[in-house]
């Protein structure tokens, strides 16, 4: 069988694991794909490569396709999120000065921490359209001022005294602690226990016009995510990801970051909930003074739970009965209604116990 060539882009972060594993461990070949990977240095560059067909797919920040649908940022073509490829995997790093300021405060009490952080702060985020920025706004309020600094440069910006704290995909936050630049880490999952961080994205017209390629690629990445659910496999993955074409960082640093706070598969992690997209879209719209109702409708269309059902259902993926849910309502791992039988969902609560109900305006 001749293999179908496909190129996918990524940024060097631990959440690129599904694509890297799919390529290195030949999950792609099993699906009849010849998958080549292309590393990018910035999110805007990767988005443009995708929009102009230089890559067929990409592991990209979940809000990027949504921002595009809302007309925000420099996106050049409509993008679809086919599936979620990682939940969590971000960490907030605090400078030594901030760590000192937070002394004596219970770091499990995010409301108390927020009170202590009610002061002018310089906060670094990797991209204006990122779950990282949303988590900061969700926690510290819409009044927080953030500035964009690319992941690889965030630790240097803190070392230069330009930032009090930053949130970034791992292993850049742990790396900053190891280099003595940051003194304290808070996982992003402390703010929202299951934030959809990265999605597998394709251009909308491509995903529609080429269901064969789209299906094969989705199954490939889904199998890689399933493989990554085992702890021992993550050690192997860390070794592979440490190599120079990928993260080009020490394997033990990657392995440590892969141990906590990131979920690739369990609890329907890969399912692109329409309600996740609405949560992101509503927040982006409100902050940028767009019509929130229209934005929610536009956003939910971007997370393609329909394609997920179509392409991954037959492959054996768990399918929840509904494609939207109340975000933040699952407090304990438990069984929930599915298309067939039941599925296990993992906790997804927000730090302040709030919920987002897609059925309410």
């Amino acid at each position: 069988m001749s293999l179908l060539p496909v190129t996918a882009g990524f940024l060097p972060l631990i959440d690129a694991a599904p694509l890297i594993v799919a390529h290195e461990l030949r999950f792609a070949e099993e699906e009849g794909l010849s998958l080549s990977l292309r590393r990018s240095t910035s999110w805007s560059a990767l988005r443009d490569l995708l929009a102009f067909g230089q890559v067929d797919a990409a592991s990209i920040l979940s809000p990027i396709p949504i921002a595009g649908a809302l007309g925000l940022g420099g996106g050049a073509a409509p993008l679809d999120a086919l599936m979620v490829t990682s939940l969590g995997g971000e960490a907030i790093a605090f400078s030594g000065r901030m760590a000192h300021h937070l002394e004596g405060i219970d770091l499990h009490d995010l409301t108390a921490m927020r009170g202590a952080l009610d002061m002018p702060l310089r906060i670094g985020v990797p991209f204006p359209f990122s779950i990282h920025a949303e988590l900061i706004y969700c926690w510290l309020g819409e009044g927080a001022t953030v500035e964009t600094v690319p992941p690889s440069l965030l630790p240097d910006a803190m070392a230069a005294g330009e930032l009090d704290m930053f949130i970034v995909g791992e292993p850049w936050a742990s790396g900053a602690v190891e280099r003595g630049i940051a003194s304290l880490l808070l996982p992003g999952t402390a703010i929202w226990r299951a934030p959809p961080d990265k999605v597998l994205a394709m251009r909308h017209d491509r995903a529609e016009d080429d269901p064969e390629l789209t299906g094969r690629l989705m199954r490939t990445v889904w199998r890689a995510c399933r493989w990554l659910r085992l702890r021992e496999n993550r050690i192997t993955a860390s070794e592979i990801m440490a190599r120079s074409p990928y993260l080009d960082l020490p394997a033990d640093l990657i392995e440590k970051a892969m141990e906590g706070g990131i979920e690739f598969f369990e609890g329907c992690a890969t399912f692109p909930w329409r309600s996740q997209a609405e949560w992101i879209g509503a927040r982006l719209a409100a902050r940028n003074r767009l019509d929130v109702t229209a934005a929610r409708i536009g956003a939910r269309a971007v997370f393609r739970s329909d394609l997920y059902r179509q392409h991954l259902g037959p492959a054996g993926a768990d399918l929840p009965a509904a494609s939207s849910r109340i975000e933040g309502a699952v407090s304990e791992p438990g069984l929930h209604p599915a298309s067939a039988g039941r599925v296990i969902l993992l906790p997804d609560g927000f730090f302040d116990g709030s919920v987002f109900d897609p059925d309410l305006p």
Partner: protein, 193 residues
């Protein structure tokens, strides 16, 4: 007509000079070169250029994205990707490794000659980069082969030609490159020291 104001983000002075020269030959423009990442977004906002040119491989590109968001309803978006006016031109720019942000309202026919000139330069840089990488790799390989030859000559008391023949035979037997075999010999020798 007012000269077009261009910000060029480029760390290497030689490259910046070449690009500036090409741009000035094409159109009446004022080019400001920014060579550092520090405070990039703020500095661009202060200059308020018509056009920003940046290497697609420069991670600082992401900081420009924030400029595309209007900070108040009264603001016009500071920067926007060029594609909306001319998709072919943008595609050509991306293939050359160039990102261009064009401020809303600048007419396409004024942008085109400038971008064409920039694209040509960027293609040249990409070619130079590829050539340099290939030359470096070839040099490194030759160094390895020479070193492995010397190790074999000392260890087995043979001549240079014979040592090279051994390397080549071994490479053919193992279906590997001569430089790979050479590297293996060097690593093994280091371990056995």
């Amino acid at each position: 007509m007012k000269p077009i104001s261009i910000v060029l983000i480029e760390k290497i002075p030689e490259r910046a000079t070449l690009i500036m020269g090409a741009l000035r030959a094409e159109a009446e423009c004022e080019v400001t070169v920014i060579a550092t990442d520090e405070g990039l977004a703020r500095r661009i906002a202060d200059i308020a250029p018509d056009l920003v040119l940046i290497d697609v491989a420069n991670p600082s590109r992401d900081t420009l994205e924030a400029l595309s968001l209007a900070s108040s309803p009264m603001d016009r978006p500071v920067a926007m990707f060029v594609d909306r006016s001319d998709r072919d031109l943008t595609r050509a720019a991306i293939e050359a490794g160039l990102s261009a942000y064009v401020v809303n309202g600048l007419r396409a026919e004024r942008i085109r000659p400038i971008l064409d000139a920039a694209i040509a330069r960027f293609h040249m840089f990409q070619r130079m980069r590829t050539e340099l990488a290939a030359t470096r790799a070839a040099l490194a390989e030759r160094k390895d082969v020479d070193k492995a030859k010397r190790i074999l000559m000392t260890a087995r008391g043979i001549g240079e030609e014979e040592a090279y023949a051994m390397l080549r035979r071994s490479a053919m037997d193992q279906k590997k490159k001569i430089s790979d075999i050479a590297q293996a010999i060097i690593i093994a020798t280091d371990l056995l020291k």
